[in-house]
Amino acid sequence: MRTYILRRLLQAIPLLIAISILSFFIMQLSPGSYLDTMKLNPDVSEELIETMKKQYGLDKSIPEQYFHWLWQILHGNFGESFTYKVPVTHVIKTRALNTIILSIAAMIIAWGVSIPIGIYSATHKYTIGDNIFTSLAFVGLSIPNFFFALLLLFLIVKFNVPLPITGMTSIMYDYMSLSGRIIDVLKHLLVPAVVLGTASMASLTRIMRGQMIEAMRSDYIRTARAKGLKNKTVVYKHAFRNAINPMITMFGFQISALLSGAALTETVTGWPGLGKMMLTAVRSKDLYLAMAGLMIGSVLLILGNLIADILLAISDPRIRYN
């Protein structure tokens, strides 16, 4: 197991290097730079721009810049953000954490809802309840999450629901007790997490239902029933345990969708995460911040997939690590 994890981590290194080359050259293609916009400002002197160019290494050739940047990254230095004027690592640390919090919350909501509903739908196939849930899953699957977020915000304001509509903390956050702070953040988390969770919820429900139906058809279920076991035991001890396995594979697939979905949800709900930061960085041509965003996003994705594979290996003894 340990060698398996180690090998997977080692395999990720060339992948990350390739990603860094790709993202670096994409950003180089981008027309204009942050300094160009600065030049338009009459208060900024030529000398300042020249010093900044030198400071950020922008006067060197592109391959040189790349290797310089890569070398810096290996030393844990992601460069300095043009807009925030602080090291990128400072900005990105909290942002990445916020995105992880949001993604985990969304995942808890999605899994917490979809598994029971999937089981219900499968055991009550073609009943009214199943039909309602299946239709709702289609609706959830089809609603773009930024629109869903707008809709929720609209409803919250319209019906005066006592929920905050933007950001991560209230103005009074600094004066709150620890428990007050946690409740405050949770309140802000609710809307983005529900929005982000809905899309995965819909697809997970459909898969859970399908897996459960397949499991319920197998021979060991017939055997269990023939033995005279209670329905509850048959469903939860025999069928459920076998149906849940493929769901863990889905966990890996979901991460990419979660990170992508988070970017839009964060923008609409003002949750200060990685995606929102990426957008501002890309818009203001904040080169190093945008590249760090791409890199950290990819690292999260690769790690998430690794965790999914490990979970699968633990839960399913048939899978060998090779």
């Binding site: 992948l15 990603i19 981008s30 289609f138 304001v157 139906i213 818009r283 791409l294 996003g297 994705l301």
Partner: protein
Amino acid sequence: MNRLNQKDFDKNTDISKEKKSEKKEYDFLNDTWRRMRRHKMAIIGGTIVIILYIIVIFAGFLGPYNPYHGFKKHFFHPPTKIHFFDEDGLTRPYVYRTESFDWAEYEVIKDKKYPIKFFHKGDKYKLFGLFKTDLHLFGVDEPAHLFLLGSDNYGRDLFTRILFGGRVSMFIGFVAIFITTVIGLIVGGISGYYGGWVDNILMRFAEVIMSIPGFYLLLALAAVLPMGISSTLRFFLIISILSFRGWAGMARVIRGMVLSIRNEDYVLAAQAIGARDPRIIQKHVLPTTTTYVIVRATVSIPGYIIMESGLSFLGLGIQEPNASWGNMLTAAQNVTKITNFPWLLIPGFMIFFAVLSYNLLGDGLRDALDPKATENN
């Protein structure tokens, strides 16, 4: 010999005759259609999709105004109320004119009724981009306005803009999935068929693209697009971005399928006869993947529609003054705006309906073309 026996047998029994005639009628399209019809929701979804395409193609004729025509004194105008009754009872539908008395506040002036005229002559436009005309399905005479779904911040008719915006949203998915599929088939086909270092390089590249969170990559790529390029060019560049992100997943699965097909007898036979590789890939290997490709294409179109509207919503996709359902929602980004002018949210419902219909269609199509895949539903 065998056939002869079969003939004799058929003569003697009715049952086998029936069976034989059934077999004769077997035809891929017919069979698919038969299975498809069982999914009522898929048929409904498909019908809505077709209707949406027809509507957006005839946008110029169906919308009462020019999508860029801003009525400066009528910005954020609520949907115009259409009256069907007057003092004498049921009458020809008519509207009243409105005048603003405060910022985005309008009062109805009931001095004259303006009937809604069919085949009304209004703003000029080009039908299919070819014929110049000013004929609209309906409209009202100035100074009254007919804002079926209200107007936006420049006083442009939201209904007309939704029709025109639908062109972008409905066609971008369609074209993007076409390009993605072509690239996916070529790369996946080559990779799976030749194997070796070609396969290695192509698949590693696909892996790199798939390891960057999709929307982040799209954001970075969209930022590369220069500002101030023509809207058509921008449209195609956005399609290329979406396809650049999308081909990898398709290529991976095609490669897997090709790998397993490569050693089938009929491929070996073709090789033995001396058929050249491109011919074998084209004629023998790739057709086997047709069903998968069709299903995958239909199922992924909604994803492209959502991606495009997301990019446009953030201001990185289709730019003003051109309309797309995504960038129309940008106006609704502000919470106070959506509570005061809730009709700004309507383009979002259009995205939702288009995506929902496509999802229903794709689901039915998957069942019809590949019954094995979803026998558990």
